[in-house]
Symmetry: C2
Subunit: 246 residues, 2 copies
């Protein structure tokens, strides 16, 4: 499995009919820099492959959402449509009314699943985080959380994932950082063993929180207006993991 934009959630909803972004357009300097950072982050991690250079795909338009499939698949398709809108126009453009129009279903059909705009946004964010967590666990390829380098590998892949998908990052974290973990509905639950194993001992919870905050800031710095002013993200991740272990 690869840590790529063709991630489980959308793939489940739309099968194999997903368009790939054309490679014709020359990337902006910022995105070329980001790609270099991503390569540096995953360098030496051996078995990981990434769909570098591809942007997040968006589901195709004009497809009837009411063709077969069960309730979960239907909600998944609604979320995929909402994701397209958020990626193209920002999370601010989301609404249940618009989603109903685009899906070609009555407004009530959407609001039965997502009562309000906030519910819809929360569900979309959870969807993106679950997808990221699943992609990361896939990319870790069964590496035991007990292996000494497991935590740093996970953190490098986490940062690389978001640098590779900045638009998804902005939708998933529009105003603040992710809920870290804890709780049965935590979308990042699959990653918890790596944090628990890598940061056990006294104050482990606080050190894990600090590490998550630092990783978040490292991504943000790279997505900001002057990413080149910052120390390379790979070096920062290594420092952050060391610090959290201390």
């Amino acid at each position: 499995m690869v840590l790529s934009p063709s991630a489980p959630g959308i793939r489940r909803a739309f099968g194999a009919s997903l368009p790939r972004r054309s490679r014709g357009a020359r990337p902006a300097p910022a995105s070329r820099r980001r790609r270099r950072c991503v390569r540096a982050l995953i360098e030496g991690l051996g078995s990981f492959r990434k769909g570098l250079g591809e942007d997040q795909m968006t589901p195709p338009q004009g497809r009837s959402l009411l063709t077969d499939g069960d309730e979960a698949a239907f909600s998944g398709r609604l979320l995929a449509l909402a994701r397209r809108t958020a990626l193209e126009e920002g999370a601010g453009a989301l609404s249940t009314v618009r989603l109903a129009r685009e899906a070609g279903v009555p407004k009530l059909t959407v609001e039965k699943r997502f009562r309000t705009r906030a519910d819809l946004l929360a569900a979309l964010q959870a969807d993106i985080l679950v997808e990221a967590a699943e992609a990361l666990v896939d990319a870790l390829g069964g590496m035991s959380p007990r292996r000494p380098q497991a935590l740093e590998t996970l953190c490098r892949l986490w940062v690389a994932h978001w640098l590779d998908h900045p638009a998804l990052f902005r939708v998933a974290f529009p105003e603040g950082a992710a809920p870290p973990r804890t709780g049965p509905r935590d979308p990042l639950a699959p990653l918890a063993p790596y944090f628990e194993e890598g940061l056990d001992g006294e104050g482990g919870r606080a050190r894990a929180d600090l590490l998550l905050c630092a990783l978040h800031g490292i991504v943000q710095a790279q997505l900001g207006p002057r990413p080149g002013d910052w120390t390379e993200p790979g070096e920062l991740v290594a420092l952050a993991v060391d610090a959290a272990r201390a």
Copy 2:
């Protein structure tokens, strides 16, 4: 001097005629929690006073911008108007056309100062950061960067400042973290001595960057949807400073 919303930039532009926000409205639970965090962050810092409970003020409407004053003051007033728009409706609502309309001046008058929307946003962000840096240096009240607790005090105040002014934070950092320092036009230059003194030695620059990223993430976590899930920001700041020193 106090670290309060009545900060230098806006005050310079509009003198003492700034309205205070009414205290009548009951704050939402999230903002009450934030206020508790801010209090914890500045507890024990002795000589610091904060205008807790006040939101960022916005300049009054309908005031002619072309009454006397020099060029810098005029640009400052335009920026203050732009700030009001960004605080009330988000940075996405900014434009040179709208700013000209609100200031009651021709579009070209605005575009001579801020050529594009991006220039305007960048100037507004720099204005907010300069203001934060000045307020922090004021709040430090001449504490020498050499004092052992200077760096942690600065970091606590930095996080407290943004938790106290979340709307300003969102305008200043709409998609990414701040440019850290370096360069003559760096709005955070006044804070540099504290980072240099507190984090000297080998790898100091990388450790300072990590600390800034962590502080950014700590604020973001508190502004996110489930701030209560995170370790208290005061504890995280202390850990982050310790880690950066190691």
